[in-house]
C-alpha cells in the first residue's frame, strides 16, 4: 500500500510552517502530520506547494477552524468548495473541525467560541454537520473545544451535548484531552466523568497540547508542553478508547521540531502502557 492511502496510526505532529525547512531537510520519522487546512485553501501558495511535496512521504489529516459549524449563518460555500478541492488534491485520511462557532453577521473571529448546550442547538448543529458530510462525501470528525464561559440557557452537560450531536449526525469525534481538562478546571466539573461519558466507538483521534495557568482560569494556548494532569487524563482516555491515533499540537511559542518529537515519544509510552 502506498503512503498516499496508508492508514493513520501512532502519534502524529501538527504541521506548522516554522518546521517546513527542518522537515524538508531531515524527513523526520513521524507516522503522520495533521495540517491546519484553513492555511492551505489558496491554490499555488508556498504552504500548499510544501504539503504537496511532502505528501508522498507522509499520511495526513485535515484540521480546520473556519467551518463555523455552530454559526447561525448559512455554511460558507466558498470555504467548503476550497476544502473539497484541497481534499481531492491531498487525500487526507479524514477532515476535522471544532464543535463551536467562529463567524457570524458577516464577521470572522478566527477563534473558537462555544455554544449553549440545548436540544435546539443540537438540532441546528446536526443539520449543518449532515450538510457538510453530504458535501465532503465522508463523515466529519468534530472536536470538543476548551471553554471559559458557560451559558445561562444551557440545560445539559457538554458531554451530553456531544453525545447527542455525534449520534444524530453519525459523525466521528476528535477527543481533545487537554480541552477537557481546561474546561473541567474552569467550570469545576470532573474531567473523568466527562471523558468516560463520551462514546468510545466514535472517537477517531486524540489531541494533546499545553495550556497556561492564568490563576483565575486555565487558558488553552497550545504554547506549552503537555502537563502532568493532562498526561494522567490521557492515560485514562487510552484505557477508555483503545488504540486511537494521537496528535501533538503546538501553535504558539513554537519550539524546535525535536521538542515535539519528545512529546510524541511520551504519548507513545503512555499509550503502550495503558492499552
Amino acid at each position: 500500500m502506498s503512503i498516499l492511502h496508508s492508514s493513520i496510526h501512532g502519534c502524529g505532529i501538527g504541521l506548522r510552517s516554522q518546521h517546513f525547512a527542518y522537515i524538508a531537510e531531515h524527513q523526520p520519522n513521524v507516522p503522520w502530520f495533521e495540517i491546519l487546512s484553513d492555511n492551505y485553501l489558496i491554490e499555488g501558495t508556498v504552504q500548499r506547494e510544501f504539503v504537496q511535496q511532502i505528501r508522498p512521504d507522509y499520511p495526513i489529516t485535515f484540521h480546520g477552524v473556519g467551518l463555523s459549524i455552530g454559526s447561525v449563518e448559512p455554511l460558507n460555500k466558498d470555504y467548503l468548495k476550497r476544502l473539497v478541492k484541497l481534499k481531492n488534491e491531498l487525500e487526507p485520511a479524514w477532515i476535522s473541525d471544532h464543535l463551536c462557532w467562529t463567524s457570524a453577521h458577516g464577521y470572522n473571529t478566527h477563534d473558537l467560541i462555544p455554544l449553549p448546550y440545548t436540544p435546539d442547538v443540537v438540532n441546528h448543529i446536526v443539520e449543518r454537520i449532515l450538510q457538510v458530510q453530504d458535501t465532503l462525501g465522508e463523515r466529519l470528525v468534530i472536536e470538543n473545544v476548551s471553554s471559559y464561559m458557560q451559558f445561562k440557557d444551557s440545560n445539559m452537560t457538554e458531554w451530553e451535548f456531544i453525545n447527542q450531536v455525534v449520534e444524530k449526525s453519525d459523525c466521528h469525534l476528535l477527543l481533545d484531552v487537554n480541552n477537557i481538562y481546561v474546561s473541567a478546571i474552569n467550570h469545576h466539573f470532573s474531567a473523568e466523568d466527562y471523558l468516560l461519558a463520551l462514546p468510545a466507538n466514535r472517537i477517531k483521534e486524540i489531541h494533546l497540547a499545553g495550556y497556561e495557568d492564568k490563576q483565575t482560569h486555565l487558558l488553552d494556548t497550545h504554547s506549552r508542553p503537555v502537563t502532568e494532569p493532562v498526561w494522567d487524563l490521557f492515560a485514562k482516555a487510552v484505557k477508555h478508547v483503545g488504540d486511537v491515533p494521537v496528535l501533538i499540537e503546538w501553535d504558539n511559542d513554537i519550539p524546535e521540531f525535536s521538542r515535539l518529537l519528545q512529546e510524541a515519544d511520551t504519548a507513545k509510552q503512555i499509550q503502550q502502557q495503558n492499552l
Binding site: D38, N39, L41, I42, E43, G44, T45, V46, E49, G66, S68, G70, S71, V72, N76, D78, Y79, W101, T102, S103, A104, H105, G106, Y107, N108, T109, H110, D111, I113, L115, P116, T118, D120, V121, H124, Y148, M149, Q150, F151, K152, D153, H188, T216, H217, L219
Partner: protein
C-alpha cells in the same frame, strides 16, 4: 435564548460594541460574566493583533510595541475580518495608518505598511506556471499584435515618495544597511513578486513602471508598441529576462 441574537451580540462586542454579558453568561465566585466574556474578546484580539504583527514587523519596530498594539486594536474594531481565509486579514492597515492622526508624524509609515502587505500578498498568491515564450514566433503578426502579457500573480507595483524598500532592508536581521545612510525622502518605483520560495523587490525606472502598469492593465502588444515606441524591445526583453512578465495570452 435565540442563538442568532447571542452570536450577533458577541460578534458586535468583540469588535467594539457593548454587551450585557450577564444576559448570557454564568458568573461564579472565580470570574464574573463580564470577565469571562473578556477572556474571549482578549483572545480574538490577541489572534488578530498577532496576525498584524506577523504581517507588519517593520512597522511595529518603527512605532514600538505599545503604539502598534494600540493602533492594531483600533484597526481590528474598525476592520474586523470578513473572510474565512486568515491570509486576507489586514489588507487595509496601510490606509488606516495613512489617516490615523497619531501616526502622521511618521510620514513614511503607511507606505512601509503597504510594502509589507505586498510581500504578504506575494507569499499567499499563486505561483503560476510560466508561458513558453519560445513559441511566440509561431504566431502570425496579427496575432502577436493582439497579444497580452501578464505579470506573475504574486506581483504588485508600488509607487511611493519614500525609500521604504531600503528602510525595510535595514530592519532585517544581519542587514548591513545603516538607517542613517538611507536617503529616505526619495521617490521609489518598486516591483514586489515571488519566485518559488523567495520574494523579490526590484526598483524600477519610471519607464519600466509605466510599462509594467500598462502590462498589468492588459494592454495589447499593438498599444504597447504605440506607447513605448523604440523602448518596447528593451522593456520586453528586460521584463522577460527578470521574470517580471510570466505569461501571455492571445486576444481579450
Amino acid at each position: 435564548m435565540i442563538l442568532k441574537e447571542l452570536q450577533y451580540d458577541f460578534v458586535g462586542a468583540f469588535f467594539g460594541a457593548d454587551i450585557d454579558a450577564d444576559k448570557y453568561i454564568v458568573s461564579d465566585d472565580q470570574l464574573t460574566a463580564k470577565q469571562r466574556f473578556g477572556i474571549y474578546k482578549g483572545s480574538v484580539h490577541g489572534v488578530l493583533t498577532q496576525a498584524l504583527s506577523d504581517i507588519y514587523p517593520v512597522c511595529k519596530e518603527l512605532v514600538g510595541d505599545r503604539f502598534f498594539d494600540h493602533v492594531s486594536s483600533l484597526y481590528i474594531n474598525q476592520n474586523p475580518p470578513t473572510s474565512a481565509l486568515f491570509a486576507d486579514f489586514g489588507g487595509q492597515f496601510s490606509d488606516f495608518l495613512r489617516h490615523f492622526e497619531a501616526a502622521k508624524s511618521v510620514e513614511y509609515l503607511a507606505d512601509t505598511a503597504q510594502l509589507e502587505w505586498l510581500r504578504h500578498k506575494a507569499w499567499h498568491s499563486k505561483n503560476q506556471e510560466a508561458s513558453d515564450f519560445t513559441t511566440l514566433g509561431n504566431y502570425t503578426e496579427q496575432q502577436q499584435m493582439g497579444m497580452r502579457f501578464a505579470l506573475p500573480e504574486t506581483a504588485s507595483l508600488l509607487q511611493t515618495d519614500y525609500q521604504v524598500e531600503q528602510l525595510w532592508q535595514a530592519h532585517q536581521k544581519g542587514s548591513d544597511i545603516k538607517l542613517t545612510e538611507i536617503d529616505l525622502f526619495r521617490h521609489l518605483n518598486l516591483l514586489v513578486w515571488r519566485i518559488d520560495y523567495t520574494i523579490h523587490m526590484q526598483e524600477l525606472s519610471t519607464l519600466q513602471i509605466e510599462f509594467l502598469t500598462a502590462v498589468q492593465e492588459q494592454t495589447p502588444l499593438s498599444s504597447l508598441a504605440e506607447q513605448f515606441t523604440e523602448h518596447l524591445s528593451e522593456l520586453l526583453s528586460t521584463s522577460l529576462k527578470n521574470g517580471w512578465i510570466r505569461s501571455f495570452h492571445l486576444g481579450v
